[in-house]
Structures are given as structure tokens and as C-alpha cells.
């Protein structure tokens, strides 16, 4: 169950937490673009990945995101990583030249190793960024921000408020449903269902015994919620005010400009074929340092928790 709660909002009082959710979403998009820009040489690709990694590392540090959780997300992707490595190694890239090593008659090129590494690093950076966003922003604030972004669509009678309401209700009920899953699992385990072991047929039956009650309960809950909303006079067409007003402050402007500049710089580097003439080990050093930093902080966080106990 704990895997699903990966990236859950953690209430803290940090600079990143206090930012406007709209700015956070835009910054996320800007930085994602920066992550996905490609460069003409591998040195440049890895150096930029390293710099972005450092930047995201700083963000995680400021927002007090648990490094242990960030690493957990990496661990959750292990299957993808192995799959990518295999695919890239088996398919010979077009411009591959230098053979790293060969297993039997299979030649493995540096090119393909770099290629898969690039994808993995991009994925990790992306997941880290998203996690920083979700752990530092209340889900409700995110939906408010989304509603704000959809405002222009109102002109074509797009039901922005209804969609935002649907999203916020869905988000609100995720923990409730998880509790429900846990409760039903316990009840069925008491009736002798084994969710972890056993033959495929009995495992299938076990899943059925979980899903059907879950569905019934959620439909019932949805109906009750709809009734109670209606009983309190909810009208989707009515003009609504919100308890929390979204505010754009100087800090938000600063973050927006910083992220924008970051993205602009990456695009400029990419377009101008800007390269730094360095031996190949320099980008490796940058990435290595990043990983070590991440790891040490992860360990530090884990230890700090242990001491608290």
C-alpha cells in the first residue's frame, strides 16, 4: 500500500511550499522541457543533465522532500530500466562506432549504453520534479491552479469548474478508497483469503473478493456524496468563490523567471550546438557527484528518522 502513497503531500513550512501552485505547475513544465532538450554531443547531454540534477537536488533540499522517497521511486522503476537497457543494447544505433565490449558475437556499443542512460536519467529527473511538486503542494491547490489554467476555455462553454470539482473530489477520495481497500482485504483475509500466495486461480478469486465490494462501496459513496451536495444546494452553474485565493507574489515571479531562464539557456545551448571541449570523464564526474550527493542525503534522512525513534 505504501507504494501508492509515494508523492503524497507533506505539510511543511518551506519556500517551495509557499509558492503559488500556478507558478509551480508552469515551472514544472518549463523544467521538463529543459530536461527533454537534446544536444549534439554526449558530453553536453550529460553535463546538462548533471546541472539539472544539481538544480533539482537543490529544489528537493529546499522543499524538504525526503530523499529516501526519491530513491524509492527510482527503485520502483527498476523493471523499466532493465527493459530499456536490453532494448537499447539489442538494437544497434545508426551512428554507433565505438564498441564498449562484446559478449560472444554480440557487440555492445557505448552509444547504446549512453542512450539508455540518458533516458533513465531523464525519467529520474522527471519523477523527482513531479514528486517535489506533489509533496510540496496541496492537491486542492493543484486543482485550483488547473481550474485557473482552464479559464480561457470558458469562452467555448467548456465546463472548467465541473472538471476541477471532479478532479478535487477524485483526489479527496484516493486515501478513503485506500483505507477501504485495506479494510476489505483484512476482512477477506479473516475469511481465509490469501492475497500474497497461492495458485493463479485462487489469486484471481482473491482479487475478485476485493474488487466487487470495493466497487459497490464506491458507487454507494458516490451516490451519498451527490445527494449530500445537492441537499446543501450545490449548483455547478452558480458563481463560486473560494476560501483560499491564489496570490502571485514577488517570490513567484522570481521562481518563474529563474525557471524560464533555465529553459531558455538549454534551448540556446542546444540550437547553437554549444559544446564544452572536455574529456569524457568530466560529465561522468558531475553525474557521479550528483548521485553520491543524493545518496548521502538519502542515508542522512533515513538515519535521522531512526534516531528519532
Amino acid at each position: 500500500m505504501s507504494n501508492i502513497t509515494l508523492g503524497r503531500y507533506v505539510p511543511r513550512d518551506t519556500f517551495i511550499h509557499s509558492l503559488d501552485p500556478r507558478v509551480k505547475i508552469i515551472s514544472l513544465i518549463l523544467l521538463m522541457v529543459a530536461i527533454f532538450i537534446s544536444y549534439s554531443t554526449w558530453e553536453m547531454t550529460f553535463i546538462m543533465a548533471g546541472i539539472l540534477g544539481l538544480f533539482i537536488f537543490l529544489l528537493a533540499l529546499i522543499s524538504n522532500t525526503s530523499f529516501r522517497l526519491l530513491f524509492k521511486s527510482l527503485r520502483a522503476m527498476w523493471f523499466l530500466i532493465i527493459f530499456l537497457l536490453l532494448i537499447n543494447i539489442l538494437i544497434k544505433p545508426n551512428n554507433a562506432e565505438i564498441i564498449a565490449f562484446s559478449i560472444g558475437s554480440l557487440d555492445i556499443y557505448w552509444e547504446s549504453i549512453f542512450q539508455s542512460l540518458k533516458i533513465i536519467i531523464r525519467l529520474f529527473l522527471m519523477v523527482s520534479l513531479t514528486m517535489i511538486l506533489t509533496t510540496s503542494t496541496k492537491p486542492l491547490d493543484l486543482t485550483y491552479a488547473l481550474e485557473w489554467f482552464m479559464k480561457p476555455l470558458k469562452v467555448i462553454k467548456f465546463p472548467t469548474h465541473e472538471i476541477a470539482m471532479t478532479i478535487s473530489i477524485a483526489l479527496r477520495f484516493i486515501p478513503t478508497l485506500l483505507n477501504e481497500v485495506e479494510r476489505i482485504m483484512k476482512a477477506q483475509t479473516s475469511r481465509g483469503v490469501d492475497f500474497k500466495h497461492g495458485k493463479i486461480s485462487s489469486r484471481f478469486k482473491a482479487i475478485i473478493s476485493l474488487i466487487i465490494p470495493l466497487f459497490i462501496a464506491s458507487f454507494q459513496r458516490a451516490e451519498e456524496l451527490a445527494d449530500s451536495m445537492e441537499a446543501r444546494g450545490y449548483d455547478p452553474k452558480a458563481k463560486r468563490t473560494t476560501y483560499h485565493k491564489l496570490r502571485f507574489s514577488v517570490n513567484d515571479l522570481f521562481v518563474f523567471i529563474l525557471c524560464g531562464a533555465f529553459m531558455a539557456a538549454t534551448i540556446v545551448f542546444s540550437v547553437m550546438n554549444f559544446t564544452i571541449k572536455t574529456p569524457l570523464f568530466v560529465p561522468w564526474l558531475v553525474i557521479g557527484c550528483c548521485l553520491v550527493l543524493f545518496y548521502l542525503f538519502g542515508l542522512g534522512a533515513a538515519n535521522a528518522r531512526r534516531y528519532k525513534k
Partner: protein, 286 residues
């Protein structure tokens, strides 16, 4: 089957940023063939406590002994296979009406015993018996459980646990939301089970039920056991100590005793008994 807690601690969220101690040094015993009630305020750890009884939750510290089974925080001491324990200790959870899923009522009740290796025909037979015991008539057997009312579904869920023929049946607030008659029928069923030799563990907030049915009471407060013993001693002492409600019968008896009446508490479980007793005493005094 005797159930024994040996210095049990339990923490929620050991892997999450929110750590919460739900049980604090629980050291108590549920006697074989007793009718034990567990009472206490919401959030005092009652539900956590009962989940330790069949290994759904493993203690963070200490161990639970259930017959020959050991559910311990220590992996070496812990019984390897906990599934047989779940047959011996059946737990009916709160809002158990939401755990039904089969096509028909009888199949749903037979689901439990079949999980423990009972053949289908045999399981259906046991299911029919259990259903009749909880007051679900034959006309319901082939119906879909989702066509039943809430109260009926709860009975079916209880029958589902009873069909496993456990030695201990644990009930987490089974009477919540039932009408007074339903409550009485349900309680009589549990009493009958108890008389047939099943150990009954009942979690409840209703002190009248505790007074009427319990042979033993465990009072919990903030994850600790603060009282363990008979119901009469509990309610005769000041219940304010644990801020529990006084049962109606106790209130009446105390009022009447102030007026000079004398009662044998062991004989009086319900208001009806008290009325009989008063009538009898008046007759003899005349």
C-alpha cells in the same frame, strides 16, 4: 482457546512520516469460553487490539498467544503459517455488510469454509445451517447479497464467519445501526454461540449490552488496558474513573438500593430481571 497478550506494543506508520502508538504495553488475557467485552472510547486501540488476535497485524513489540499459535514481533518465535489461526479465530469487522461479493447469499457464506479446504457440498450445508442460525430464511439462499437490506447483509456476513466454525469469534461493533429488536436478536445469537462453547469477544460502546451479556470486561484507554475483570465489579466501582456510561440497570439498582431494596447482582442482567425481582420482593414482603 485461550488468548493471551504478552507486553504488546503496536505502532502505526513505522515506514511513513507519521508515527502513532496505538497499543502501549498490553498485557491481558481472554479466558477460554468466556464472553469478553472490550470497551473504550473511539481511537483507544480496540480495533487494533482485535486485529492482533488472528495475525492481521503483527505486534511491534511483544507477542500474542492464541492456543498453540504465537504471533510475535520476533520472527523466530512467530508461527510460520497463520492461515490456520484465521480459521480458529474468526473476526467480524465493523460494517461487515460491505465484504460480500458472491453471486448468491449461500455461496458467499460458503466462501470462508471453502478457503479452509472444506468441500463445496459440505460448505454449502454448513452455510445453510449458519444462515438459519442468524435468522436468514431459506428464501434468501439463492438471492444476490446486494438485493438484501443493510441489516440482512450484516447477518449474512456474520454467518460467513460462523460457517468457518471458529473457536473464538471476534465481533467489532456488530449491533451498530440495527433497530432495538435486531440488536436483541443478534445478542441472543451470540449468547447462544457462547453457550455452545465458542469464546465470544465483543467490541461495543453499549454498556447495557456489556452489563447484560459479558462474563469479562476489558476497558481500554489511550492504547492501554486500564481494567480487566467482571462487569459487576466494573460498574459498581465508580465508572467515572474510565468515563464510561453507567448501564440503565445499574442506575436503577443504585436508586432502588438507596430506598432500601437489596438485590443479588449475579441474577440480574436486564431490566426484565430487575422487574421480576422487584415484584418477587414486594410479594414476599407482603
Amino acid at each position: 482457546m485461550k488468548l493471551k497478550f504478552n507486553h504488546v506494543d503496536f505502532f502505526y506508520g513505522t515506514k511513513a512520516p507519521y508515527l502513532f502508538q496505538a497499543l502501549n504495553d498490553i498485557d491481558c488475557e481472554i479466558k477460554e469460553k468466556s464472553f469478553t467485552c472490550i470497551v473504550g472510547h473511539t481511537g483507544c486501540g480496540k480495533s487494533t487490539l482485535i486485529q492482533q488476535l488472528n495475525g492481521l497485524l503483527i505486534p511491534s513489540k511483544g507477542s500474542v498467544f492464541a492456543g498453540d499459535f504465537v504471533v510475535s514481533s520476533n520472527k523466530k518465535e512467530r508461527t510460520k503459517k497463520l492461515k490456520p489461526l484465521r480459521q480458529k479465530v474468526g473476526i467480524v469487522f465493523q460494517f461487515s455488510e460491505y465484504q460480500l461479493f458472491e453471486n448468491t447469499v449461500e455461496e458467499d457464506v460458503a466462501f470462508g469454509p471453502m478457503n479452509f479446504g472444506v468441500k463445496k457440498e459440505e460448505a454449502l450445508k454448513i452455510a445453510h445451517e449458519s444462515l438459519l442460525k442468524v435468522g436468514i430464511g431459506e428464501s434468501f439462499f439463492k438471492k444476490s447479497p446486494f438485493d438484501l437490506s443493510g441489516g440482512e447483509r450484516r447477518r449474512v456476513a456474520i454467518a460467513g464467519i460462523m460457517a468457518m466454525q471458529p473457536e473464538v469469534i471476534v465481533l467489532d461493533e456488530p449491533t451498530v445501526g440495527l433497530d432495538p429488536r435486531g440488536v436483541k436478536e443478534m445478542m441472543l445469537l451470540f449468547k447462544q454461540l457462547h453457550e455452545q462453547g465458542t469464546t465470544v469477544v465483543l467490541v461495543t460502546h453499549d454498556m447495557n449490552l456489556v452489563y447484560g451479556y459479558a462474563s469479562d470486561v476489558i476497558v481500554m484507554d489511550h492504547g492501554k488496558v486500564v481494567y480487566q475483570g467482571g462487569p459487576h465489579e466494573l460498574f459498581n466501582r465508580s465508572v467515572d474513573e474510565y468515563s464510561l456510561e453507567t448501564p440503565l440497570v445499574t442506575k436503577l439498582i443504585q436508586g432502588l438500593e438507596n430506598k432500601g431494596y437489596k438485590f443479588d447482582l449475579q441474577k440480574i442482567a436486564f431490566i426484565d430481571d430487575l422487574v421480576d425481582e422487584i415484584v418477587k420482593q414486594r410479594r414476599t414482603s407482603k
